[in-house]
Protein backbone atom coordinates (compact mmCIF):
# COMPACT_ATOMS: atom_id res chain seq x y z
CA UNK A 1 0.00 0.00 0.00
CA UNK A 2 2.70 2.41 1.01
CA UNK A 3 4.75 1.71 -2.11
CA UNK A 4 1.65 2.23 -4.24
CA UNK A 5 1.14 5.60 -2.59
CA UNK A 6 4.78 6.43 -3.06
CA UNK A 7 4.76 5.45 -6.69
CA UNK A 8 1.57 7.47 -7.16
CA UNK A 9 3.22 10.56 -5.74
CA UNK A 10 6.38 9.92 -7.80
CA UNK A 11 4.27 9.68 -10.97
CA UNK A 12 2.64 12.97 -10.03
CA UNK A 13 6.04 14.57 -9.55
CA UNK A 14 7.31 13.23 -12.86
CA UNK A 15 4.29 14.73 -14.64
CA UNK A 16 4.73 17.93 -12.69
CA UNK A 17 8.29 18.27 -14.01
CA UNK A 18 7.01 17.74 -17.56
CA UNK A 19 4.35 20.40 -17.11
CA UNK A 20 6.85 22.85 -15.62
CA UNK A 21 9.11 22.24 -18.60
CA UNK A 22 6.36 23.39 -20.97
CA UNK A 23 6.26 26.61 -19.00
CA UNK A 24 10.05 26.84 -19.17
CA UNK A 25 9.99 26.44 -22.96
CA UNK A 26 7.39 29.20 -23.25
CA UNK A 27 9.38 31.46 -20.94
CA UNK A 28 12.57 30.80 -22.91
CA UNK A 29 10.89 31.73 -26.22
CA UNK A 30 9.24 34.85 -24.78
CA UNK A 31 12.36 36.00 -22.94
CA UNK A 32 14.53 35.49 -26.01
CA UNK A 33 12.05 37.39 -28.15
CA UNK A 34 11.67 40.26 -25.67
CA UNK A 35 15.38 40.55 -24.92
CA UNK A 36 16.44 40.51 -28.55
CA UNK A 37 13.60 42.57 -30.06
CA UNK A 38 12.73 45.05 -27.36
CA UNK A 39 15.89 45.37 -25.29
CA UNK A 40 18.08 44.79 -28.33
CA UNK A 41 20.34 42.44 -26.39
CA UNK A 42 22.80 40.63 -28.64
CA UNK A 43 21.58 37.02 -28.26
CA UNK A 44 22.26 33.90 -30.28
CA UNK A 45 18.60 34.03 -31.17
CA UNK A 46 18.43 31.17 -33.66
CA UNK A 47 20.43 28.87 -31.37
CA UNK A 48 18.08 29.66 -28.46
CA UNK A 49 14.97 29.01 -30.56
CA UNK A 50 16.50 25.72 -31.71
CA UNK A 51 17.16 24.74 -28.11
CA UNK A 52 13.54 25.65 -27.22
CA UNK A 53 12.28 23.47 -30.07
CA UNK A 54 14.55 20.60 -29.05
CA UNK A 55 13.38 20.80 -25.44
CA UNK A 56 9.77 20.81 -26.62
CA UNK A 57 10.35 17.63 -28.62
CA UNK A 58 12.21 16.02 -25.71
CA UNK A 59 9.41 16.96 -23.35
CA UNK A 60 6.79 15.52 -25.66
CA UNK A 61 8.65 12.21 -25.90
CA UNK A 62 9.03 12.15 -22.14
CA UNK A 63 5.33 12.87 -21.64
CA UNK A 64 4.44 10.01 -23.96
CA UNK A 65 6.84 7.66 -22.22
CA UNK A 66 5.34 8.48 -18.85
CA UNK A 67 1.82 7.99 -20.14
CA UNK A 68 2.83 4.66 -21.63
CA UNK A 69 4.38 3.55 -18.34
CA UNK A 70 1.39 4.56 -16.27
CA UNK A 71 -1.32 3.25 -18.60
CA UNK A 72 0.19 0.19 -20.26
CA UNK A 73 2.76 -1.13 -17.82
CA UNK A 74 0.71 -2.19 -14.81
CA UNK A 75 2.83 -0.80 -12.03
CA UNK A 76 5.96 1.13 -12.93
CA UNK A 77 8.44 0.21 -10.21
CA UNK A 78 9.65 2.76 -7.72
CA UNK A 79 13.20 2.35 -8.95
CA UNK A 80 12.14 2.99 -12.54
CA UNK A 81 10.20 6.10 -11.57
CA UNK A 82 12.98 7.52 -9.47
CA UNK A 83 15.41 6.85 -12.34
CA UNK A 84 13.16 8.74 -14.74
CA UNK A 85 13.00 11.67 -12.36
CA UNK A 86 16.76 11.64 -11.79
CA UNK A 87 17.28 11.53 -15.54
CA UNK A 88 14.91 14.46 -16.04
CA UNK A 89 16.71 16.57 -13.46
CA UNK A 90 20.13 15.73 -14.92
CA UNK A 91 18.94 16.48 -18.45
CA UNK A 92 17.45 19.75 -17.28
CA UNK A 93 20.82 20.81 -15.86
CA UNK A 94 22.43 20.14 -19.23
CA UNK A 95 19.65 21.98 -21.08
CA UNK A 96 19.92 24.95 -18.76
CA UNK A 97 23.68 25.01 -19.25
CA UNK A 98 23.27 24.96 -23.05
CA UNK A 99 20.76 27.82 -22.84
CA UNK A 100 23.12 29.78 -20.61
CA UNK A 101 25.96 29.10 -23.03
CA UNK A 102 24.05 30.78 -25.84
CA UNK A 103 22.98 33.68 -23.67
CA UNK A 104 26.15 34.93 -22.02
CA UNK A 105 27.28 32.09 -19.76
CA UNK A 106 28.30 33.36 -16.36
CA UNK A 107 27.24 36.87 -17.30
CA UNK A 108 23.62 35.82 -17.52
CA UNK A 109 22.00 36.23 -14.08
CA UNK A 110 19.55 33.47 -14.97
CA UNK A 111 22.18 30.93 -13.95
CA UNK A 112 20.64 30.96 -10.52
CA UNK A 113 17.70 29.04 -12.02
CA UNK A 114 19.73 25.94 -11.10
CA UNK A 115 18.43 26.49 -7.58
CA UNK A 116 14.87 25.59 -8.63
CA UNK A 117 15.90 22.16 -9.76
CA UNK A 118 18.06 21.59 -6.74
CA UNK A 119 15.04 22.34 -4.54
CA UNK A 120 12.88 19.99 -6.56
CA UNK A 121 15.53 17.26 -6.44
CA UNK A 122 15.86 17.64 -2.68
CA UNK A 123 12.13 17.15 -2.16
CA UNK A 124 11.95 14.02 -4.30
CA UNK A 125 15.30 12.25 -4.12
CA UNK A 126 17.28 10.94 -1.18
CA UNK A 127 19.73 13.23 0.63
CA UNK A 128 22.74 11.66 -1.06
CA UNK A 129 21.11 11.86 -4.49
CA UNK A 130 20.27 15.51 -3.83
CA UNK A 131 23.89 16.36 -3.01
CA UNK A 132 24.95 14.46 -6.13
CA UNK A 133 22.44 16.46 -8.17
CA UNK A 134 23.84 19.72 -6.79
CA UNK A 135 27.37 18.51 -7.54
CA UNK A 136 26.34 17.65 -11.07
CA UNK A 137 24.87 21.15 -11.53
CA UNK A 138 28.07 22.73 -10.24
CA UNK A 139 30.14 20.46 -12.50
CA UNK A 140 28.20 21.19 -15.70
CA UNK A 141 27.92 24.88 -15.15
CA UNK A 142 31.50 25.12 -13.83
CA UNK A 143 32.83 23.31 -16.90
CA UNK A 144 30.92 25.67 -19.18
CA UNK A 145 32.17 28.86 -17.55
CA UNK A 146 35.75 27.61 -17.26
CA UNK A 147 35.80 26.44 -20.89
CA UNK A 148 34.44 29.83 -21.96
CA UNK A 149 36.91 31.56 -19.71
CA UNK A 150 39.86 29.64 -21.17
CA UNK A 151 38.60 30.28 -24.66
CA UNK A 152 37.92 26.63 -25.49
CA UNK A 153 34.23 27.39 -26.04
CA UNK A 154 32.90 30.48 -27.76
CA UNK A 155 31.42 33.14 -25.51
CA UNK A 156 28.21 34.85 -26.57
CA UNK A 157 28.20 38.40 -25.35
CA UNK A 158 25.20 40.13 -23.88
CA UNK A 159 25.74 43.55 -25.44
CA UNK A 160 24.60 46.06 -24.23
CA UNK A 161 23.46 44.28 -21.05
CA UNK A 162 26.97 43.42 -19.90
CA UNK A 163 29.71 45.52 -21.39
CA UNK A 164 32.64 44.25 -19.35
CA UNK A 165 34.09 40.84 -20.18
CA UNK A 166 33.45 39.22 -16.80
CA UNK A 167 33.65 35.78 -18.35
CA UNK A 168 37.34 36.15 -19.02
CA UNK A 169 38.15 37.30 -15.50
CA UNK A 170 39.24 34.04 -13.82
CA UNK A 171 39.06 35.55 -10.36
CA UNK A 172 35.48 36.65 -10.94
CA UNK A 173 34.52 33.30 -12.48
CA UNK A 174 35.99 31.24 -9.66
CA UNK A 175 34.47 33.50 -7.03
CA UNK A 176 31.06 33.27 -8.61
CA UNK A 177 31.33 29.50 -8.96
CA UNK A 178 32.30 29.24 -5.30
CA UNK A 179 29.30 31.26 -4.12
CA UNK A 180 27.11 29.37 -6.59
CA UNK A 181 28.13 25.94 -5.36
CA UNK A 182 27.96 26.99 -1.71
CA UNK A 183 24.43 28.28 -2.30
CA UNK A 184 23.34 25.06 -4.01
CA UNK A 185 24.70 22.84 -1.22
CA UNK A 186 23.10 25.03 1.40
CA UNK A 187 19.77 24.79 -0.45
CA UNK A 188 20.11 20.99 -0.51
CA UNK A 189 20.91 20.93 3.18
CA UNK A 190 17.96 23.13 4.12
CA UNK A 191 15.45 21.47 1.84
CA UNK A 192 16.36 17.91 2.78
CA UNK A 193 16.22 18.76 6.50
CA UNK A 194 12.77 20.27 6.11
CA UNK A 195 11.66 17.27 4.07
CA UNK A 196 12.95 14.87 6.71
CA UNK A 197 10.95 16.69 9.33
CA UNK A 198 7.85 16.63 7.15
CA UNK A 199 8.25 12.93 6.44
CA UNK A 200 8.63 12.19 10.11
CA UNK A 201 5.45 14.12 10.81
CA UNK A 202 3.64 12.29 8.07
CA UNK A 203 4.80 8.96 9.43
CA UNK A 204 3.40 10.04 12.77
CA UNK A 205 0.05 10.85 11.23
CA UNK A 206 0.00 7.56 9.40
CA UNK A 207 0.78 5.68 12.57
CA UNK A 208 -2.00 7.45 14.47
CA UNK A 209 -4.35 6.77 11.60
CA UNK A 210 -3.46 3.10 11.68
CA UNK A 211 -3.98 2.95 15.44
CA UNK A 212 -7.38 4.59 15.06
CA UNK A 213 -8.37 2.05 12.44
CA UNK A 214 -7.21 -0.74 14.75
CA UNK A 215 -9.24 0.71 17.61
CA UNK A 216 -12.27 0.99 15.37
CA UNK A 217 -11.83 -2.66 14.43
CA UNK A 218 -11.66 -3.71 18.08
CA UNK A 219 -14.69 -1.58 18.85
CA UNK A 220 -16.67 -3.29 16.10
CA UNK A 221 -15.58 -6.73 17.25
CA UNK A 222 -16.68 -5.82 20.74
CA UNK A 223 -20.06 -4.64 19.49
CA UNK A 224 -20.41 -7.82 17.45
CA UNK A 225 -19.72 -10.07 20.41
CA UNK A 226 -21.96 -8.09 22.73
CA UNK A 227 -24.81 -7.91 20.23
CA UNK A 228 -24.54 -11.58 19.49
CA UNK A 229 -24.77 -12.40 23.19
CA UNK A 230 -27.82 -10.22 23.60
CA UNK A 231 -29.40 -11.87 20.61
CA UNK A 232 -28.93 -15.28 22.20
CA UNK A 233 -30.83 -14.15 25.31
CA UNK A 234 -33.52 -12.44 23.28
CA UNK A 235 -34.02 -15.50 21.13
CA UNK A 236 -34.47 -17.63 24.25
CA UNK A 237 -36.91 -15.12 25.79
CA UNK A 238 -38.99 -14.87 22.65
CA UNK A 239 -38.85 -18.64 22.12
CA UNK A 240 -40.34 -19.21 25.57
CA UNK A 241 -42.94 -16.48 25.12
CA UNK A 242 -43.94 -17.99 21.78
CA UNK A 243 -44.70 -21.33 23.40
CA UNK A 244 -47.02 -19.64 25.86
CA UNK A 245 -48.51 -17.27 23.25
CA UNK A 246 -49.47 -20.12 21.01
CA UNK A 247 -51.21 -21.76 23.95
CA UNK A 248 -49.18 -24.91 23.65
CA UNK A 249 -48.97 -25.21 27.44
CA UNK A 250 -52.63 -24.40 28.01
CA UNK A 251 -55.14 -21.56 27.67
CA UNK A 252 -54.60 -18.00 28.91
CA UNK A 253 -57.07 -15.38 30.07
CA UNK A 254 -57.23 -12.09 28.17
CA UNK A 255 -55.07 -10.14 30.61
CA UNK A 256 -52.37 -12.81 30.59
CA UNK A 257 -52.50 -12.98 26.84
CA UNK A 258 -52.21 -9.20 26.54
CA UNK A 259 -49.15 -9.04 28.76
CA UNK A 260 -47.44 -11.94 27.02
CA UNK A 261 -48.20 -10.27 23.69
CA UNK A 262 -46.61 -7.04 24.91
CA UNK A 263 -43.52 -8.87 26.02
CA UNK A 264 -43.33 -10.68 22.70
CA UNK A 265 -43.70 -7.43 20.71
CA UNK A 266 -40.86 -5.81 22.61
CA UNK A 267 -38.67 -8.86 22.17
CA UNK A 268 -39.35 -8.80 18.42
CA UNK A 269 -38.48 -5.10 18.20
CA UNK A 270 -35.33 -5.60 20.18
CA UNK A 271 -34.40 -8.53 17.96
CA UNK A 272 -34.90 -6.38 14.86
CA UNK A 273 -32.58 -3.79 16.36
CA UNK A 274 -29.98 -6.36 17.33
CA UNK A 275 -30.14 -7.94 13.88
CA UNK A 276 -29.68 -4.57 12.18
CA UNK A 277 -26.73 -3.76 14.42
CA UNK A 278 -25.21 -7.18 13.73
CA UNK A 279 -25.59 -6.66 10.02
CA UNK A 280 -24.05 -3.19 10.06
CA UNK A 281 -21.17 -4.24 12.28
CA UNK A 282 -20.45 -7.36 10.29
CA UNK A 283 -20.34 -5.29 7.13
CA UNK A 284 -17.89 -2.90 8.74
CA UNK A 285 -15.68 -5.77 9.85
CA UNK A 286 -15.62 -7.61 6.53
CA UNK A 287 -12.89 -6.48 4.22
CA UNK A 288 -14.63 -7.31 0.98
CA UNK A 289 -18.08 -7.88 -0.41
CA UNK A 290 -18.74 -10.81 -2.73
CA UNK A 291 -19.50 -8.87 -5.85
CA UNK A 292 -20.67 -10.31 -9.13
CA UNK A 293 -22.61 -9.29 -12.19
CA UNK A 294 -26.30 -9.61 -11.37
CA UNK A 295 -29.63 -8.58 -12.81
CA UNK A 296 -30.52 -5.27 -11.23
CA UNK A 297 -33.79 -5.50 -13.12
CA UNK A 298 -34.79 -8.61 -11.20
CA UNK A 299 -33.71 -7.09 -7.89
CA UNK A 300 -35.87 -4.05 -8.64
CA UNK A 301 -38.88 -6.30 -9.37
CA UNK A 302 -38.29 -8.30 -6.18
CA UNK A 303 -37.88 -5.19 -4.04
CA UNK A 304 -40.93 -3.58 -5.59
CA UNK A 305 -43.00 -6.72 -4.95
CA UNK A 306 -41.76 -6.97 -1.36
CA UNK A 307 -43.28 -3.63 -0.38
CA UNK A 308 -46.38 -3.97 -2.52
CA UNK A 309 -48.66 -5.50 0.12
CA UNK A 310 -47.88 -2.75 2.60
CA UNK A 311 -48.55 -0.13 -0.04
CA UNK A 312 -51.87 -1.70 -1.01
CA UNK A 313 -52.93 -1.94 2.62
CA UNK A 314 -52.52 1.84 2.89
CA UNK A 315 -54.19 2.39 -0.46
CA UNK A 316 -51.13 4.16 -1.86
CA UNK A 317 -50.49 5.02 -5.47
CA UNK A 318 -47.56 2.65 -5.87
CA UNK A 319 -45.64 2.45 -9.13
CA UNK A 320 -42.21 2.20 -10.68
CA UNK A 321 -40.53 3.30 -13.86
CA UNK A 322 -37.30 1.87 -15.20
CA UNK A 323 -35.16 2.82 -18.20
CA UNK A 324 -35.13 -0.01 -20.70
CA UNK A 325 -31.33 0.12 -20.76
CA UNK A 326 -31.14 -0.96 -17.13
CA UNK A 327 -30.05 -4.58 -16.92
CA UNK A 328 -27.12 -6.04 -15.05
CA UNK A 329 -24.74 -4.28 -12.69
CA UNK A 330 -21.71 -5.39 -10.74
CA UNK A 331 -22.28 -5.63 -7.00
CA UNK A 332 -23.60 -7.65 -4.07
CA UNK A 333 -27.10 -8.55 -5.25
CA UNK A 334 -28.72 -9.39 -1.91
CA UNK A 335 -27.48 -6.20 -0.27
CA UNK A 336 -28.63 -4.00 -3.15
CA UNK A 337 -32.03 -5.69 -3.25
CA UNK A 338 -32.43 -5.38 0.50
CA UNK A 339 -31.44 -1.73 0.37
CA UNK A 340 -34.06 -0.91 -2.25
CA UNK A 341 -36.66 -2.97 -0.37
CA UNK A 342 -35.93 -1.23 2.91
CA UNK A 343 -36.08 2.21 1.34
CA UNK A 344 -39.42 1.36 -0.27
CA UNK A 345 -40.74 -0.02 3.03
CA UNK A 346 -39.56 3.16 4.73
CA UNK A 347 -41.41 5.35 2.25
CA UNK A 348 -44.54 3.25 2.61
CA UNK A 349 -44.28 3.46 6.39
CA UNK A 350 -43.90 7.23 6.50
CA UNK A 351 -46.51 8.05 3.84
CA UNK A 352 -50.09 8.56 5.06
CA UNK A 353 -52.85 6.40 3.57
CA UNK A 354 -53.89 7.42 0.06
CA UNK A 355 -50.48 8.96 -0.72
CA UNK A 356 -47.90 8.20 -3.40
CA UNK A 357 -44.73 6.08 -3.40
CA UNK A 358 -42.75 5.85 -6.60
CA UNK A 359 -39.60 4.02 -7.56
CA UNK A 360 -37.59 5.18 -10.52
CA UNK A 361 -34.48 3.59 -12.00
CA UNK A 362 -32.52 5.63 -14.51
CA UNK A 363 -29.54 4.82 -16.62
CA UNK A 364 -27.25 7.82 -16.29
CA UNK A 365 -23.97 8.07 -18.16
CA UNK A 366 -21.59 6.30 -15.80
CA UNK A 367 -23.97 5.11 -13.11
CA UNK A 368 -27.45 3.82 -12.36
CA UNK A 369 -29.63 6.23 -10.41
CA UNK A 370 -32.25 4.70 -8.12
CA UNK A 371 -34.81 7.03 -6.59
CA UNK A 372 -37.71 6.46 -4.25
CA UNK A 373 -40.01 9.42 -3.86
CA UNK A 374 -43.07 9.69 -1.69
CA UNK A 375 -45.71 12.12 -0.53
CA UNK A 376 -44.93 11.28 3.09
CA UNK A 377 -44.02 13.23 6.20
CA UNK A 378 -40.76 14.54 4.68
CA UNK A 379 -37.51 15.21 6.55
CA UNK A 380 -37.07 18.14 8.93
CA UNK A 381 -34.91 20.78 7.20
CA UNK A 382 -31.19 20.50 8.11
CA UNK A 383 -31.61 16.83 8.89
CA UNK A 384 -31.33 15.40 5.38
CA UNK A 385 -27.75 14.33 6.10
CA UNK A 386 -28.15 13.49 9.78
CA UNK A 387 -30.73 10.79 9.08
CA UNK A 388 -27.96 8.61 7.62
CA UNK A 389 -26.06 8.70 10.92
CA UNK A 390 -26.22 5.64 13.13
CA UNK A 391 -29.06 5.66 15.68
CA UNK A 392 -30.29 9.04 14.47
CA UNK A 393 -34.03 9.36 14.06
CA UNK A 394 -35.88 12.45 12.89
CA UNK A 395 -38.46 13.76 15.36
CA UNK A 396 -41.37 13.37 12.94
CA UNK A 397 -40.32 9.79 12.14
CA UNK A 398 -40.29 9.05 15.87
CA UNK A 399 -43.93 10.11 16.04
CA UNK A 400 -44.90 7.62 13.35
CA UNK A 401 -42.91 4.77 14.85
CA UNK A 402 -41.53 5.08 18.33
CA UNK A 403 -39.16 2.13 18.37
CA UNK A 404 -37.38 2.21 15.02
CA UNK A 405 -33.81 0.99 15.08
CA UNK A 406 -32.32 4.17 13.63
CA UNK A 407 -30.01 1.91 11.67
CA UNK A 408 -31.86 1.29 8.42
CA UNK A 409 -30.44 4.26 6.53
CA UNK A 410 -26.97 3.75 8.06
CA UNK A 411 -26.98 0.24 6.65
CA UNK A 412 -28.16 1.58 3.28
CA UNK A 413 -25.37 4.13 3.32
CA UNK A 414 -22.81 1.48 4.22
CA UNK A 415 -24.01 -0.72 1.35
CA UNK A 416 -23.99 2.11 -1.18
CA UNK A 417 -20.61 3.40 -0.05
CA UNK A 418 -19.22 -0.11 -0.36
CA UNK A 419 -20.36 -0.01 -3.98
CA UNK A 420 -18.62 3.36 -4.40
CA UNK A 421 -21.95 5.02 -5.02
CA UNK A 422 -23.58 8.05 -3.40
CA UNK A 423 -26.72 8.22 -1.29
CA UNK A 424 -28.72 11.28 -0.35
CA UNK A 425 -32.18 12.50 0.61
CA UNK A 426 -34.10 15.62 -0.18
CA UNK A 427 -37.55 17.04 0.39
CA UNK A 428 -39.84 17.47 -2.58
CA UNK A 429 -41.19 20.97 -3.19
CA UNK A 430 -44.70 19.52 -3.36
CA UNK A 431 -44.25 17.65 -0.05
CA UNK A 432 -42.79 14.30 0.89
CA UNK A 433 -39.21 13.32 0.22
CA UNK A 434 -36.99 11.59 -2.31
CA UNK A 435 -34.25 9.14 -1.41
CA UNK A 436 -31.64 8.55 -4.10
CA UNK A 437 -28.57 6.44 -4.54
CA UNK A 438 -26.23 5.56 -7.35
CA UNK A 439 -24.35 2.44 -8.39
CA UNK A 440 -21.34 3.11 -10.62
CA UNK A 441 -21.29 1.13 -13.85
CA UNK A 442 -17.55 0.68 -14.07
CA UNK A 443 -17.33 -0.93 -10.64
CA UNK A 444 -16.00 -4.19 -12.00
CA UNK A 445 -12.83 -2.51 -13.24
CA UNK A 446 -12.44 -0.66 -9.96
CA UNK A 447 -9.42 -2.06 -8.14
CA UNK A 448 -10.90 -1.42 -4.71
CA UNK A 449 -14.42 -2.59 -5.48
CA UNK A 450 -16.17 -3.84 -2.37
CA UNK A 451 -13.49 -2.80 0.07
CA UNK A 452 -13.85 -0.34 2.86
CA UNK A 453 -12.85 3.17 1.96
Amino acid sequence: MESVLQSKSLIQRAYWLVHLRWVAVAVLVCATFLASETLKVSLAVSALYTVAAAVAVYNFVLFDLLRYLVERAEHPSLRMLSRIITFQIGADFVILTVILHYSGGIENPFFFSFIFHVVIASTILSTLQSYLAATFAVAVFGTLTLLESFGVLAHYELVPFVSVDFFANRFYVLGTLFVFSATLYLVVYMTTSIMKQLRRQQEGFELVNLQLKQKDYYKNEYILRLTHDIKGHLAAIDGCLNVVREKIVGPLNDKQMDLIERGHNRAVKCLAFVNALLKLTRMKLTGRLDMELFSLKRSIFNAFAAAENGAKAKNLEYAYEMDTAVDTVYGESTLIEETITNMLLNSVKYTPAGGIVKLSVKDAKDHILIQISDSGIGIPPDETEKIFEEFYRAANARKVERDGTGLGLSIAKQVVTRHHGKIWAQNNPEGGSTFSFTIPKDLQSHPEAGTVR
Binding site: L224, H228, K231, G232, L234, A235, A236, I237, D238, G239, C240, N242, V243, E246, I248, V249, A267, L271, N275, L278, K279, R282, T286
Partner: protein, 131 residues
Protein backbone atom coordinates in the same frame (compact mmCIF):
# COMPACT_ATOMS: atom_id res chain seq x y z
CA UNK B 1 -45.98 -46.42 13.79
CA UNK B 2 -45.25 -45.67 17.44
CA UNK B 3 -43.96 -42.50 19.01
CA UNK B 4 -41.36 -40.60 16.94
CA UNK B 5 -38.13 -39.88 18.79
CA UNK B 6 -36.32 -36.57 18.50
CA UNK B 7 -32.96 -35.59 20.02
CA UNK B 8 -32.23 -31.92 20.67
CA UNK B 9 -28.57 -30.88 21.01
CA UNK B 10 -28.23 -27.29 22.20
CA UNK B 11 -26.28 -25.63 25.00
CA UNK B 12 -28.99 -23.08 25.80
CA UNK B 13 -31.27 -24.77 28.38
CA UNK B 14 -34.11 -22.30 27.81
CA UNK B 15 -34.15 -22.82 24.07
CA UNK B 16 -34.04 -26.58 24.66
CA UNK B 17 -36.95 -26.36 27.09
CA UNK B 18 -39.14 -24.28 24.78
CA UNK B 19 -38.53 -26.63 21.85
CA UNK B 20 -39.07 -29.66 24.03
CA UNK B 21 -42.43 -28.39 25.24
CA UNK B 22 -43.60 -27.66 21.71
CA UNK B 23 -42.48 -31.02 20.33
CA UNK B 24 -43.85 -33.02 23.26
CA UNK B 25 -47.19 -31.27 22.98
CA UNK B 26 -47.29 -32.47 19.37
CA UNK B 27 -46.74 -36.02 20.54
CA UNK B 28 -43.04 -36.57 19.97
CA UNK B 29 -40.72 -38.18 22.46
CA UNK B 30 -37.83 -35.80 23.13
CA UNK B 31 -34.38 -36.37 24.61
CA UNK B 32 -31.87 -33.58 25.07
CA UNK B 33 -28.12 -33.06 25.28
CA UNK B 34 -26.21 -29.87 25.98
CA UNK B 35 -23.04 -30.41 23.97
CA UNK B 36 -21.71 -32.21 20.93
CA UNK B 37 -20.03 -35.13 22.65
CA UNK B 38 -23.03 -35.83 24.86
CA UNK B 39 -25.28 -35.38 21.86
CA UNK B 40 -23.40 -37.90 19.77
CA UNK B 41 -23.56 -40.50 22.55
CA UNK B 42 -27.26 -39.86 23.06
CA UNK B 43 -28.02 -40.14 19.35
CA UNK B 44 -26.19 -43.45 19.13
CA UNK B 45 -28.04 -44.71 22.18
CA UNK B 46 -31.55 -43.52 21.26
CA UNK B 47 -31.31 -43.84 17.46
CA UNK B 48 -33.88 -41.06 16.94
CA UNK B 49 -35.98 -40.26 13.89
CA UNK B 50 -34.72 -36.68 13.83
CA UNK B 51 -31.96 -34.58 15.37
CA UNK B 52 -32.29 -30.88 16.11
CA UNK B 53 -28.85 -29.34 16.47
CA UNK B 54 -27.51 -25.94 17.42
CA UNK B 55 -24.62 -24.75 15.26
CA UNK B 56 -22.62 -22.92 17.83
CA UNK B 57 -22.13 -24.54 21.14
CA UNK B 58 -18.79 -24.64 22.94
CA UNK B 59 -16.93 -24.00 19.74
CA UNK B 60 -18.04 -22.03 16.72
CA UNK B 61 -18.59 -25.09 14.57
CA UNK B 62 -19.44 -27.83 17.02
CA UNK B 63 -22.83 -28.41 15.38
CA UNK B 64 -21.21 -28.80 11.98
CA UNK B 65 -18.63 -31.23 13.28
CA UNK B 66 -21.20 -33.46 14.97
CA UNK B 67 -23.38 -33.37 11.85
CA UNK B 68 -20.50 -34.40 9.61
CA UNK B 69 -19.63 -37.22 11.98
CA UNK B 70 -23.18 -38.54 11.93
CA UNK B 71 -23.40 -38.27 8.16
CA UNK B 72 -20.19 -40.21 7.69
CA UNK B 73 -21.42 -43.12 9.84
CA UNK B 74 -23.50 -45.56 7.74
CA UNK B 75 -25.58 -46.48 10.81
CA UNK B 76 -26.77 -42.91 11.35
CA UNK B 77 -26.47 -41.11 8.05
CA UNK B 78 -30.20 -41.63 7.33
CA UNK B 79 -31.25 -39.53 10.35
CA UNK B 80 -32.37 -36.09 9.18
CA UNK B 81 -30.76 -33.14 10.94
CA UNK B 82 -32.50 -29.84 11.52
CA UNK B 83 -29.99 -27.11 12.33
CA UNK B 84 -30.91 -24.26 14.63
CA UNK B 85 -28.95 -21.11 14.40
CA UNK B 86 -28.72 -17.59 15.65
CA UNK B 87 -25.35 -17.14 14.06
CA UNK B 88 -26.48 -16.16 10.59
CA UNK B 89 -25.44 -12.60 11.17
CA UNK B 90 -22.23 -13.44 12.90
CA UNK B 91 -20.82 -15.90 10.43
CA UNK B 92 -22.49 -14.49 7.35
CA UNK B 93 -23.24 -18.02 6.21
CA UNK B 94 -26.09 -18.24 3.75
CA UNK B 95 -27.84 -21.22 5.31
CA UNK B 96 -30.67 -21.25 2.83
CA UNK B 97 -28.42 -22.10 -0.07
CA UNK B 98 -25.91 -24.11 1.92
CA UNK B 99 -28.33 -26.55 3.56
CA UNK B 100 -28.33 -29.88 1.74
CA UNK B 101 -24.80 -29.48 0.50
CA UNK B 102 -23.35 -32.70 1.89
CA UNK B 103 -19.76 -31.57 1.74
CA UNK B 104 -20.23 -28.29 3.41
CA UNK B 105 -23.36 -28.34 5.52
CA UNK B 106 -24.61 -31.91 5.77
CA UNK B 107 -28.05 -31.15 7.18
CA UNK B 108 -31.55 -31.44 5.83
CA UNK B 109 -32.96 -28.18 7.08
CA UNK B 110 -32.29 -25.17 9.23
CA UNK B 111 -34.14 -22.44 11.02
CA UNK B 112 -33.22 -19.22 12.66
CA UNK B 113 -33.77 -18.47 16.35
CA UNK B 114 -36.01 -17.50 18.01
CA UNK B 115 -38.10 -20.63 17.79
CA UNK B 116 -41.58 -20.14 16.40
CA UNK B 117 -43.66 -23.17 17.43
CA UNK B 118 -45.62 -23.44 14.16
CA UNK B 119 -42.52 -23.13 12.02
CA UNK B 120 -40.67 -25.68 14.11
CA UNK B 121 -43.51 -28.20 13.88
CA UNK B 122 -43.86 -27.70 10.13
CA UNK B 123 -40.16 -28.28 9.57
CA UNK B 124 -40.13 -31.35 11.79
CA UNK B 125 -43.20 -32.81 10.10
CA UNK B 126 -41.84 -32.30 6.64
CA UNK B 127 -38.52 -33.89 7.53
CA UNK B 128 -40.34 -36.88 9.01
CA UNK B 129 -42.59 -37.00 5.93
CA UNK B 130 -45.69 -36.55 8.06
CA UNK B 131 -47.19 -33.51 6.39
Amino acid sequence: MGQRKIVIVDDDPDIVESMKVVLESAGYSVETASNGTEGLELIKEVNPHLVIMDVMMNSLQEGFIVSRELKSDPNYKHIPILMVTSVKDKTGIDFESAAGDDEWLPVEGYFDKPVKPQVLLEKVKSLLHES
